[in-house]
């Protein structure tokens, strides 16, 4: 996937240079159309969002370093290839980011995954860290930070702050995201210019409730069937507990 392909949908006048979108093909647009459609079944939502997530992770991994490596093929010839360099880990921003873990593991087998829970502090109205758990050696790893929706960018910036507190340099963080708002991107990339953002689609903007427009609703809710509106014919046991 060529990282330089510009977004065609909204084409905000200035996409920060550290933002990389997937090539905006009709096929990708069709995937987004399915997951945006409020009538899409949960099974289809899972399947098609996983397809996008895999493409995003593949694109994100292209920003990791490689070293020349020569191998011998079974036919006895040599091949001038490359070897992957640097250890990686994933960090998902709960809860929606968790939904991207399956896609990540399909591309990066048995990758370590940290978690981070950020919520809005009711008193200050600022994002606040509630919980985090990272691999011990996270400071020496490249971090794929997972959050499907970038609206205002508040929790993403908080998450980066936490990661940097744990010793991860800004330039070793790759933010993987399905849908971003132009406002969120500007704020986020303005604060962390060395961090790379891989996003699938840049939407029109935010509404008065700070939801992405057109967006797709609450990604985590649609993935995890949290809201009553999306209950399917059955409710997994673990979900019942979440709802309680």
């Amino acid at each position: 996937m060529s990282p330089q392909a510009p977004s065609t949908q909204t084409s905000p006048s200035t996409v920060p240079p550290s933002v990389f979108t997937l090539p905006q093909t009709a096929q990708l647009e069709a995937l987004y159309t399915i997951i945006r459609d409020k009538d899409t079944s949960r099974g289809d939502f899972l399947f098609y969002s996983d397809r996008i997530i895999r493409l995003l992770v593949e694109e994100g991994l292209n920003h990791l370093p490689v070293l020349p490596k020569t191998v011998e093929t079974p036919t006895g010839a040599t091949y001038e290839g490359v070897g992957f360099e640097g250890k990686i880990c994933g960090v998902s921003i709960l809860r929606a980011g968790e939904a991207m873990e399956a896609g990540l593991r399909e591309v990066c087998r048995s990758v370590r995954i940290g978690k981070i829970l950020i919520q809005r502090d009711e008193e200050t109205a600022q994002p606040k860290l509630f919980y985090s758990k990272f691999p011990q050696d996270i400071a020496s790893r490249y971090v794929l930070l997972l959050d499907p929706m970038l609206a205002t960018g508040g929790s993403a910036m908080k998450a980066v702050e936490v990661l940097m507190d744990h010793g991860v340099p800004e330039e070793r963080i790759i933010f993987i995201n399905l849908i971003a708002s132009p406002e969120g991107l500007r704020t986020f990339c303005g604060k962390y210019p060395a961090l790379r953002v891989i996003t699938g689609w840049i939407d029109q903007g935010l509404n008065e409730k700070a939801y992405i427009i057109p967006g797709l609703g609450d990604f985590g809710e649609r993935r995890h069937v949290l809201s009553i509106a999306h209950f399917g014919s059955y409710l997994p046991f673990s979900m019942v507990r979440y709802c309680a």
Binding site: M1, A30, Y32, T33, D37, R51, L64, G215, L216
Partner: protein
């Protein structure tokens, strides 16, 4: 099954075939069962396969000859089926023979007619009982190398069933039936017309014997039917049609006649293949080891995945002979996922507007294709299936088993398992097909698979070939010339092909004498099927 012993025959059970033709989504044709005792079931509409079907097309992609059609007519119980079987048996190693029976083409009946039929009051021996135009069009399709779906007639219900039976890919077709020589349109299609001559009293005797023993009927009933329908039809329609025959064969003790017929068919087939041998699309005729100027990648019109770091890293692991099997499988699945995602961009899309949960309209796109399916070329195409399924989870995936002949290196088609939508011509004409194979080296298997799809009516520009590697000095240029509209999506392009021994045969000159020369890609990935499955 893969053994290409020349005189081994496999019999496709027609019951198996017909039950699968209409129902399941990825309906499979039956396995080719090896059958060593050479006993051929006296079943109607049987496909007999001996050692795989060699190429039936030339280097420019066009079909080079029609199937050879033999008609066997004669009175009821004259020994037609016996003659047909004798012909098949003495032909020996003919690739595929289809025996087509007139009985399949009895017309659809009204409820009243069905009732009469159960009382033995319907004249099944009259030409009007048979749907001759349908018979002729099915035979014409088969002769021209296309698929056909013949009706299935049930004698128990005295009615044509809703299901049909899919037939494809014969080099010899034998049609048999009492009125096989009656219809002028059918006669036009025959290359050899045989009439089996038998005395009336002998036919009646055999008929009584057969019907009392096998169908549990009374002698009175048989005689009644004989006098009312069978005999008049024989005198009025069957016997006169003998005048159209090229050969009249006695109904018994006919070894000499059968021998003559077979000699004739063999000579005809040999003449055809001699005429076309030079033109046949067989790899060693268009590849030579000294090919020093492979065509540029640009001229091959390949759709190559964007060459990213990760892709290079994936190929490094896949190509390395020291990669573990676990790694090979994991990265193969990753690569095939990427390839499929990229190949899907070839499908047409149309605008679609949806409502999001934020109650805002979103203007997007949707796939604009009625029927999409995948077909993997076994064995190594199967290595791409997991990734393909990750991207296309609910479409039918069929398969073609193509193996190369150990001696000549020519590709042989062993098994055709196509999705139902491809078996039917009217849906095949609108379908989009993804063909999966691990690599295009000599291109022989790809060539054959594409030809199978074209035979079924799939449009050339609706075929997207997904493959990991293409050798630009290999058969891909022949493939491109023959089928310029087929899209080929690949991960990397290799430079060379060289002749080598199949893995496991190290000795120069190969003293075991069992191994075979194959074309290998350089640097290549080795035998992808072996590395993925074994």
């Amino acid at each position: 099954m893969l053994n290409s012993c020349d005189d081994r025959e496999s019999v496709m059970d027609d019951d198996l075939l017909s039950t699968q033709a209409g129902t399941s989504q990825t309906a499979a044709s039956p396995q080719l069962r090896p059958n060593n005792d050479l006993s051929i079931q006296p079943k109607k509409n049987t496909i007999l396969v001996s050692h795989g079907r060699p190429p039936w097309y030339s280097e420019d992609g066009t079909r080079i000859s029609d199937a050879f059609v033999v008609a066997v007519a004669g009175g009821s119980a004259s020994g037609k089926t016996h003659v047909a079987r004798q012909i098949v048996r003495s032909l020996g190693s003919i690739p595929t023979v289809i025996i087509l029976s007139q009985d399949s083409f009895y017309r659809r009946k009204s409820p009243e007619e069905v009732e009469l039929a159960h009382k033995n009051l319907v004249d099944f021996d009259h030409p009007d009982a048979i749907d001759m135009p349908l018979f002729a069009s099915c035979l014409a399709d088969l002769k021209a190398g296309k698929q056909t779906n013949i009706p299935v007639y049930s004698f128990a219900e005295h009615q044509r069933l809703d299901e049909t039976k899919y037939l494809y890919g014969a080099s010899v077709i034998i049609t048999e039936g009492i009125l096989a020589l009656h219809d002028p349109a059918l006669r036009q299609l025959y290359d050899l017309k045989v009439f089996v001559q038998c005395d009336s009293d002998l036919m009646l005797a055999r008929r009584i014997q057969r019907d009392t023993k096998e169908r549990g009927r009374s002698v009175d009933g048989i005689l009644d039917q004989y006098l009312r329908y069978v005999k008049p039809a024989y005198d009025n329609f069957v016997r006169p049609s003998a005048s159209h025959a090229d050969i009249i064969v006695p109904g018994s003790n006919n070894h000499v006649a059968i021998d003559l017929i077979c000699t004739h068919i063999r000579r005809q087939l040999a003449e055809r293949s001699n005429r076309f041998r030079q033109k046949m699309a067989i790899p060693h005729q268009y590849l030579s080891p000294g090919d020093v100027t492979p065509p540029d990648v640009e001229n091959l019109d390949l759709i190559v995945l964007p060459q990213s770091r990760q892709l290079k890293g994936i190929f490094t692991i896949l190509r390395s002979k020291s990669s573990s099997r676990q790694d090979f499988i994991f990265f193969m699945d990753r690569l095939s996922t990427l390839l499929t995602e990229y190949a899907l961009q070839q499908l047409p899309h149309r605008p679609k507007t949806v409502m999001t949960l934020t109650e805002v309209e979103s203007h997007g796109q949707e796939l604009d294709a009625e029927y999409v399916c995948g077909i993997s070329i076994l064995r190594s195409g199967g290595a791409l299936e997991r990734g393909f399924r990750r991207v296309m989870n609910n479409i039918p995936v069929g398969s073609l088993l193509v193996q190369s002949d150990g001696k000549t290196g020519e590709p042989l088609l062993f098994q055709v398992m196509l999705p139902v939508g491809i078996r039917e011509r009217h849906t095949a004409e609108k379908a989009w097909v993804f063909l999966l194979d691990a690599q295009i080296g000599t291109g022989a298997a790809a060539f054959m698979a594409i030809r199978v799809l074209l035979d079924h009516g799939v449009r050339q520009d609706h075929i997207v070939f997904i493959t990991c590697l293409v050798a630009r000095s290999g058969g891909v240029s022949v493939l491109r010339r023959a089928f310029p509209a087929v899209r080929i999506v690949c991960g990397e392009v290799d430079d060379h092909m060289r002749e080598g021994w199949l893995e496991g045969f190290k000795a120069e000159g190969n003293p075991e004498g069992d191994g075979r020369m194959v074309w290998v890609m350089q640097p290549g990935m080795g035998q992808i099927g072996d590395r993925y499955y074994l």
